[in-house]
Symmetry: C2
Subunit: 342 residues, 2 copies
Amino acid sequence: MRILADAMGGDNAPFEIVKGAIDAVNELGVEVTLIGRGEDILDVLRKQGHDDLPKGVTVTHASQVVEMTDSPSASGREKPDSSMAVGLRMLAAGEGDAFVSAGSTGALLTGAILTVKRVKGVKRAALAPVVPTKTGGSVLIDCGANLECKPEYLLQFGAMGSFYAQKVLGIDKPRVGLLNIGAEETKGPELLKESYKLLMEAGRAGIIHFVGNIEGRDAAFGAADVIVSDGYAGNIFLKTLEGVGLFYADMLKGMFTKNALTKVSALIVKSGLRSFKKKVDYTETGGSPLLGLQKPVIKAHGSSNAKAFKNAIRQAVNFSAGAVIPAIAENIATVTGGEAAL
Amino acid sequence: MRILADAMGGDNAPFEIVKGAIDAVNELGVEVTLIGRGEDILDVLRKQGHDDLPKGVTVTHASQVVEMTDSPSASGREKPDSSMAVGLRMLAAGEGDAFVSAGSTGALLTGAILTVKRVKGVKRAALAPVVPTKTGGSVLIDCGANLECKPEYLLQFGAMGSFYAQKVLGIDKPRVGLLNIGAEETKGPELLKESYKLLMEAGRAGIIHFVGNIEGRDAAFGAADVIVSDGYAGNIFLKTLEGVGLFYADMLKGMFTKNALTKVSALIVKSGLRSFKKKVDYTETGGSPLLGLQKPVIKAHGSSNAKAFKNAIRQAVNFSAGAVIPAIAENIATVTGGEAAL
């Protein structure tokens, strides 16, 4: 399998990206094409002790870089030779199995939809990270690609998230929940009331296993394997989860580093602390797959270090190997929200 | 000061409500009128060892109880003699300084708006709890009263939240932030882009101290003293904050109760753990004031125990004493979102 990696995207590019990519080659047995300014990539490789290209690594030169200040909608047109644009074109042309970038989310979304294109029948592509919950992790779909949604979009998010949870996370019958402000079906803004009805119908038709509305609290506790949301509320949910995790990790640190005795205490609960840290550590979860496209695209965290980028590549491998996209392509026509289809 | 308490509202009514009210009388030096089924209240008082009405406590009989299954919009009409309806009428008639209820949020909102009425010029009343953040606490407004909002509502939420933070939390110049999916002013759904402009104008006019968009992550870290949101996203934020707090508290507990040695470790960091627990413990924060009404109304947590209800009464006392409502009444005309006003 060949992973196409945007070597120039993210706060720590290209150094950490290149390092993470090489780690992925060594640990996961994949091939990686690093895309970006050739001289910069080679320079970083030398700094990391590689005078030659490591086995399994190739470099494709792209002269431009998408900056965070670039307009997401215009970056493809204004920077046709950016590492992101080149990578997406290579993916569309079949020169790799998946594309991973830690660059601008907006530019990646726009570029991927234009270049890689949506699966026929899919109304909107959505960002679907796996978020840490008490029971392990849940697919959150959408978390920011679509701020203004229609009920049919949320219906399809539910189905796509369910296929991903089945094929990549290995959950046989994923519980699909709608992120809402209360459990009753009459709760929430109009969008959610209508979405609830469509998801319920899809549940009755056996396409998904819909467990109803779930509140943020229940979602954090793992009440659903797939958390369906519009991109606005989903993003608030995700960032809050992340923020509170960091805030508590901080408090814990303060608690244990107070004096010599509390440091001893930390040693005693070391394994517990480690698993705690692992839960709140976003470098463990990798990136967010973009679901609904014809090829696998992964958005890695903007602040990815080598480990986070390696894990995003791991996710790209699982995404590609899991055959999620064929499942979406085969089944999405039955999930349109139209009366004929259900 | 006399606090009117809905003795029948909430999961643990009337036992815990009555207990919390008596604790409030003893600890806070207020008078409390318990409203609800007379015989039930007297029965609970006896069980708690009071053969006579404790000093400072009076009882007003109300024959009906609003149930969670009652329609919020119809409960006032269908149950005119509920403890909630009677309490709200007493408040409107000046028979008490504030009303506290742990009953149905929807019914309380509808009833309060109809009976206690909005301050002239206020477009929408909003729920404004103080949420725990890294730096202490922030006013979150709205968190569920208004699911579908207009920019002018969010503008007024910002102003009302700011007055509350000034008068009740004692923050001289509260930082008002707009809960959004990114920091840039171009971020978010249309509602937030427009709200941003109005809040910015109000900031320039010196009515509030607007610090711009804040993400859920920053909000959890205390980036603003007042977090402005529509009721939908605000509710998702609040419930997630609450859920993650409980989830981490749970993980910590598991970590420390593993064996004898980890239990010793827990003893060492006892004070740290206590302050951690206090942060995530919602019985500490009391309830959510409903801002924009002519009299103070507090929604206590539905699962309030005696301590939580006592703290909700404490909040009602501070709300009433802080003269937030006069500040809103005097200034809200300048915060309408209309061109003439700013």
